[in-house]
Each structure stands twice: as C-alpha cells, then as structure tokens.
Amino acid sequence: MATVELPRPVISVSVQEADFDVARLQASLLSGAAVEGAIATFTGYVRCDNENRQVEALELEHYPGMTEASITAIVNEAAVRWPLLSAAVVHRVGKLAPGDQIVWVGTASTHRESAFSACEFVMDFLKTRAPFWKKEQSGASAHWVAARETDDKRADRWREGDTE
C-alpha cells in the first residue's frame, strides 16, 4: 500500500483584543490552488443573557503564552485525526459587549466530513482546555462564569475513538 504524504496543514492561532473579520479569516484558509473542497467555521458571540442573568459586559482573562500553546496543541491534534489542509483560531480577550464576536475557528479540507469534525473537535477542546476565563458584569455586580459540565462531556466524546 502506498502511503500518501499529506502536507502539514497551515495553522494560525491568534489571541487578541481586536475584533476580527470572518471573511478575511476564511479567505486565509484557501491556498489559491483550489485543493480545498470544504471549509467549516464556528463563531462564538457574547449573548445578552447567560443562565438567566442579564449580561452587560464580559471581561475575558487568559494565561498569555499557555493560551496560544494549548490552542496550537488542540489544532495539531485535530490535524492528526483528520486530513486538514489549513486551520485558524482567533480568540479575543479583554472587555467585550453583548453581540461581540469572541472566538472563530475555521478548518479547511478536501471533504466536508473532516472539516466539520475538526472544527467541532477544536471548539470542544478549546472550551475545556484553553486557559480563558469569563467574568460577567450585570449592573453593579460581577462574577466569574462557572465551567459547564456539558462541555466536559462533549470533549469526552472524542476520547471514545469517535472520529466522525
């Protein structure tokens, strides 16, 4: 059996205060050689309510250095599981308002199966492994968002050899 050498996927990870442009990010996943058949993307937004609390603002803290390293490790793990051509992750930090974009994940592959799976995989592990913490502001009070148990469960799904 001949082994086909896949080129290493082009991976980009950015943690930034600035907003991002989804069209520009999606375009950055394309090589120009028309080898990509599928791009799956995910964008997370600040909602005006969370678990029945009104959210007026969100403060995103992170662990500089470890954040980028952990996201890169997650994307690399996805690239081992699925034949990715490219992937990009942008995560914002600092003060955000309801409606603001928080996170973007995009994955490109020849076919949709791997693009979808890799994109969801990256989000599931970003949620449970990347060192970001959200603090919600509602009026005078502010509190740290608690981790969701369902997030751990979603990440656990991938351990059971579920690569589709």
């Binding site: 997370g44 995103l60 803290e61 992170h62 662990y63 250095g65 470890m66 390293a69 952990s70 995560h91 928080i102 996170v103 989000m123 970003l126 949620k127 449970t128 492994r129 990347a130 060192p131 970001f132 913490w133 959200k134 603090k135 740290w144 968002v145 608690a146 981790a147 969701r148």
Partner: protein, 84 residues
C-alpha cells in the same frame, strides 16, 4: 527561582497575580510548593488552593497529579477554564 501565577477567580480571592519563590537545593514538588504557600499565607489561601476543581499547570502544561519542580519553572493555579 520559581514563578507562581494565579488567574481569574483564584487571583482575585488570593489578592495576588504572581509571586517568586526561591527553589530550595533540596528540591521541591508541586504538592510541597502548594503546602508551603498555604502555610505562609494562612487559611484563606488553603481554602482556595485546596479546592477540588483547582487546576495546576507547570510550564504552561496542566498537571493531573503531583510532579517534581526545577529551578526556573513556571507554576500556575487557576479555576476550570470558561473560554470559547
């Protein structure tokens, strides 16, 4: 020296973002470091650092159990992550 970092709720509860500790020649592990911090700073710190869901990282990698520390290591304590 060892660099110890605290993030998010942990940082706020301890009133401390980071501190530097000498690394003794006799050696130190993660559990010993934590115990030393609790002894030096009192029960307020112990209540926080001994929480069940406290996450500990050494050199930016999460550590599940205990592990040996080396001079120059960066240790971090933080609550479960909530990004994305």
């Amino acid at each position: 020296m060892l660099k110890v970092l605290f993030f998010a709720r942990v940082r706020e509860q301890l009133g401390c973002a980071s501190l530097d500790l000498p690394c003794p020649e006799s050696g130190l592990d993660l559990d010993m470091l934590q115990e030393q911090l609790c002894r030096e700073h009192g029960d307020g710190w112990r209540d926080v650092l001994e929480e069940d869901n406290m996450v500990r990282a050494v050199n930016q990698v999460v550590v599940a159990g205990n592990c040996a520390l080396t001079d120059g290591d960066e240790i971090a304590f933080f609550p479960p992550v909530t990004g994305g």
